[in-house]
């Protein structure tokens, strides 16, 4: 085997597939009120939080699992899951990083996320979530100076109850759909961000999610509030060990932008996608919703979806404030037996609201990819515009690419434009690149990167490089 082949084989393997052998505290298996009380209790939550959870659980009991999505999956037994799992060493929270379990530190080092602040040069504040708890948050002091709150949500419930009470569930109410409601009932940890009025967050904020324990569902909850005139850029990354069984990940993310505020939310999702025969992998059923509450506010979603056995999510924007802007940039890549049903919703309620959707889907192997999106311009949203472009690229004739946009225009002063294309990499393009000395793999990589460029450009620098590599790796072995 020559070196090049070896390199490809190395890359093809999911390099984050290791698991960390660490002692865990788990809630009893299954889903019932006692488990919810257990979670609430272990997090030392106030009574109103438990009430919030139980209310959601009441609602959850009457909801049915939705089945309209394109990728079908075997029925999930919600009683056969652990809803809480945390490293034992986290029971009494370490005061500083020095007290953190060295095994955990090592895990994150292996993942390329050094938590020790002195080791960090690129100035990104990280909140690391391991199974059900947040293990470390870096750069806290520096952020506090500016009045920025960046901490695990469990801490925010204790320390900033007025903010959490006011905003939690205001975008994704407890009465929402099946998975969102499940999350409201059993969510464990996640990040909380509050940017005070007029502050421009000096560094990128980042959360890194890791599922480690087996048979565990990860239900994190992220809440980001950008007060008047503030700005924040938030990154999210995720990995999981290789396991044979499918694991559920049902997170809720709520963004709230007040007057003149801007939130930029970037995700690089690289959960374990299952092996080549489609065994194992993460079910990524996430609810992400942003509310442009104030005038002139802006929310921008950027996602690079390469992992997970099934990705099923629609990061959405509710454009309530006048002149608010919503953006959605997405690259979704599926290979082998992966399936994705993703897209966005842009709900225009305020006047002069604008939205833009750029979606690039690439499917290879026996995978299946669906773009599903909604653009809804209400009768009050005068002078609003939307532009949507969704392109799909197919590699091989065993995969599928689908586009299902819903377009509703109820306002004669508003304009909607939608374009979609589906094609394959043309022989001419490949030939041209190969003629100039690139091998087929490199040629495809180059063309795909060009195809995705519009989205990759939206990512913060450090992420863009990583994402570009990821795009290449996800498609290795799918040509030729």
């Amino acid at each position: 085997m020559d070196n090049r082949q070896k390199e490809i084989n190395n890359l093809k393997d999911y390099k984050y597939g290791f698991s960390t052998d660490i002692e865990n505290i788990q809630a009893p298996k299954g889903l019932n009120e006692d488990v919810i009380k257990f979670i609430s209790n272990i997090k030392k939550e106030p009574a109103w939080m438990l009430e919030f959870r139980l209310k959601a659980f009441e609602r959850f009991k009457v909801l049915k699992e939705p089945d309209w999505q394109k990728p079908k999956f075997p029925k999930i037994d919600y009683q056969d899951l652990y809803y809480y799992s945390a490293p034992k060493s986290m029971k009494d929270k370490p005061k500083s990083l020095d007290e953190l379990d060295p095994k955990l530190l090592e895990t994150y080092k292996k993942l390329g996320i050094p938590l020790q602040e002195q080791a960090r040069l690129n100035g990104i504040a990280v909140d690391a979530v391991f199974d059900s708890v947040s293990v470390a948050t870096t750069f806290k002091d520096e952020l506090t100076k500016q009045g920025i709150i960046f901490c695990p949500i469990s801490e925010a419930i204790q320390n900033h109850p007025e903010l959490v009470k006011k905003y939690l569930g205001s975008v994704i109410p407890t009465s929402d759909h099946f998975f969102a409601t499940l999350n409201s009932a059993v969510f464990t940890d996640g990040s909380f961000v509050y940017i005070p009025e007029g502050v421009r967050c000096p560094m990128e904020l980042s959360t890194y999610f890791r599922i480690n324990a087996s048979n565990t569902g990860q239900f994190e909850r992220t809440l980001i509030i950008a007060d008047k005139g503030s700005y924040v850029s938030y990154l999210e990354g995720c990995t999981a060990p290789m396991r044979d069984e499918n694991q559920l990940h049902a997170a809720n993310v709520e963004l709230i932008a007040l007057d003149d505020a801007e939130i930029k939310y970037s995700t690089v999702q690289n959960w374990y996608p299952g092996d080549q025969d489609g065994k194992g992998g993460i079910y990524n059923f996430v609810t992400k919703r942003g509310l442009c509450k104030g005038k002139n506010s802006k929310i921008s979603w950027t996602q690079v979806e390469t992992g997970s056995a099934i990705t099923w999510k629609y990061p959405s924007c509710i454009l309530k404030g006048d002149n608010s802007v919503g953006e959605f940039y997405s690259i979704a890549i599926t290979n082998n037996h992966q399936k994705a049903d993703t897209g966005t919703k842009m709900i225009h309620l305020g006047k002069n609201t604008k939205s833009k959707i750029i979606s690039k889907g690439i499917s290879a192997g026996s995978s299946d990819m669906t773009y599903r999106g909604l653009v809804d311009i209400s009768s009050k949203a005068k002078n609003s515009t939307n532009y949507t472009q969704c392109d799909s690229l197919l590699m091989g004739n065993r995969c599928g690419a689908h586009t299902v946009p819903y377009i509703k225009n109820k306002n004669s002063e508003s304009n909607i434009a939608h374009e979609a294309t589906t094609s394959k990499i043309s022989e001419e393009q490949l030939h041209y690149c190969q003629q100039r000395g690139l091998n087929p793999e490199e040629a495809v990589g180059l063309i795909v990167n060009g195809f995705c460029k519009e989205v990759l450009q939206q990512l913060p620098m450090e992420f863009a490089v990583e994402a570009q590599k990821l795009v290449g790796i996800s498609l290795e072995g799918s040509v030729g």
Partner: protein
């Protein structure tokens, strides 16, 4: 509704001499329909048009029994002038006249079929309703190599004798090898508040050419549903044009299966709506083998509180390499109460294809109005000119010059 259905069903089959088997089929379909009822918005395909609700609000209680014993007088004043054509006349759902006066008699065969149950792909409970209540089903066979000299116009006429009735029609067409047919459906209603449920089935053999023009132009308060199933063999061409304007509610569905290589399908539609009307076109083009082509263009002009819906789907099977599929829908909203909904869908399982869709909706372009007004036209004239040009684009797609002129005259589009 259940008892009403059962009662009307017993009444309608009483006078029919049906074989045991046909009877069973009809009963089976009736039970299916009783079970499912009219489609409502919970069904994905009816998301934007809740037929159940629409019937409830506009008609209320429907009666399904049609007394077809007595003949109706054919009113010749509705016939199209200035175009020689063959005729089929339906009055209140009863076939009154079949006349192929311009054709060679031995080249066209009209077969009165007993019940043929068609399991249409992508159909719904209305096909069950149709199967249960149609009492006569004709099949028109155009023989090998014969091309009809003159177009066939099917007159769908209803008059004020009927009220709150459900009318079911069913026609089957078979176009044998190298044959061709030009077919115009012309709706002319003086009745109110009826529900028309029409199913056509076309079978196109090798090299056959079908051109179907559906014209619903005259103002009426009826609710219409029409389903065209088109099966296409090698090299065949189907062209469908829909002018959707007159009825209170109308939904046209086209399900086209491109089974043979080099088969192509064209669907063009115009919505010209005002006054609380609610119309929909839903097309499904199934590319099932390689080298097939489809093209769709839908344009809407929506005034007052009207609502138009376009759901178009291009399906490409994994065998259908080299597919070329295109779809474009555009809408102009003239009034702040009007609404346009679209769901242009692609479902693709083959890689060497070229498929795209586009959809745009918005107001009349202010710059264009300004341009025309600065050249001396009034606002009203500019607006008319722009709308004219916008719709003319679709009418120009009609490949038959005679019929193109006829339709242009009918909608008053000037060149």
């Amino acid at each position: 509704m259940k008892e009403q259905l059962q009662k009307d069903f017993d009444n309608s089959i009483k006078n029919l001499s049906l074989s045991q088997k046909d009877m069973e089929i009809k009963k089976f379909c009736l039970d299916n329909f009783i079970d499912k009822g009219f489609p409502n918005k919970k069904e994905e395909d009816w998301k934007f048009s809740d037929l159940n609700q629409i019937i409830k609000n506009n008609i209320g209680e429907l009666s399904f029994y049609n007394d077809q014993a007595s003949t109706n007088k054919v009113d010749t004043s509705v016939f199209v002038d200035g175009l020689e054509h063959n005729k089929i006349v339906f009055i209140n759902g009863r076939i009154e006249k079949i006349d192929f006066e311009y054709e060679k008699k031995d080249q066209i065969e009209i077969i009165g079929q007993s019940e043929t149950i068609n399991e249409f792909k992508n159909s719904n409970s209305l096909s069950d309703l149709n199967n249960a209540f149609t009492n006569k089903c004709f099949k028109i066979l155009v023989k090998k190599g014969y091309q009809l000299a003159k177009p066939l116009i099917i007159y769908h006429t209803t008059n004020s004798k009927i009220w709150s009735k459900n009318i079911n029609l069913r026609l089957n067409f078979e176009l044998d090898k190298d044959s061709s047919l030009r077919l115009i459906d012309l709706f002319n209603d003086t009745s109110e508040k009826n529900f028309l449920n029409i199913f056509y089935n076309f079978e196109l053999k090798e090299n056959a050419v079908l051109k179907n023009y559906k014209v619903d132009k005259f103002e009426n308060k009826n609710i219409k549903y029409s389903f065209n199933n088109i099966d296409q063999d090698k090299n065949s061409i189907s062209e469908t044009f829909i002018l959707s304007s007159g009825s209170n509610f109308s939904k046209n569905e086209i399900n086209c299966n491109l089974n043979g290589v080099y088969a192509s399908a064209f669907v063009n539609g115009v919505f010209s709506l005002n006054n609380d009307k609610h119309h929909e076109i839903r097309s499904i083009i199934n590319h099932l083998t390689e080298n097939t082509k489809s093209y769709q263009l839908i344009k809407s002009v929506l005034d007052e509180s009207s609502k138009a819906v376009y759901q178009g789907k291009i399906f490409v099977n994994s065998d259908a390499q080299k597919t070329d599929g295109y779809q474009l829908s555009k809408a102009i909203l003239l009034n702040k109460e009007s609404e346009f909904n679209a769901k242009p869908e692609l479902e693709i399982y083959a890689d060497d294809v070229k498929c795209s869709h586009g959809s745009a909706s918005g107001s009349l372009n202010g710059d264009s109005i300004f341009y025309l007004m600065s050249r001396g036209l009034s606002y009203q004239q500019s607006r008319e000119l722009l709308i004219n040009g916008f719709l003319l684009d679709v009418v120009e797609k009609i490949t038959d010059p005679e019929i193109k002129n006829l339709i242009k005259n009918m909608i008053g589009i000037k060149e």
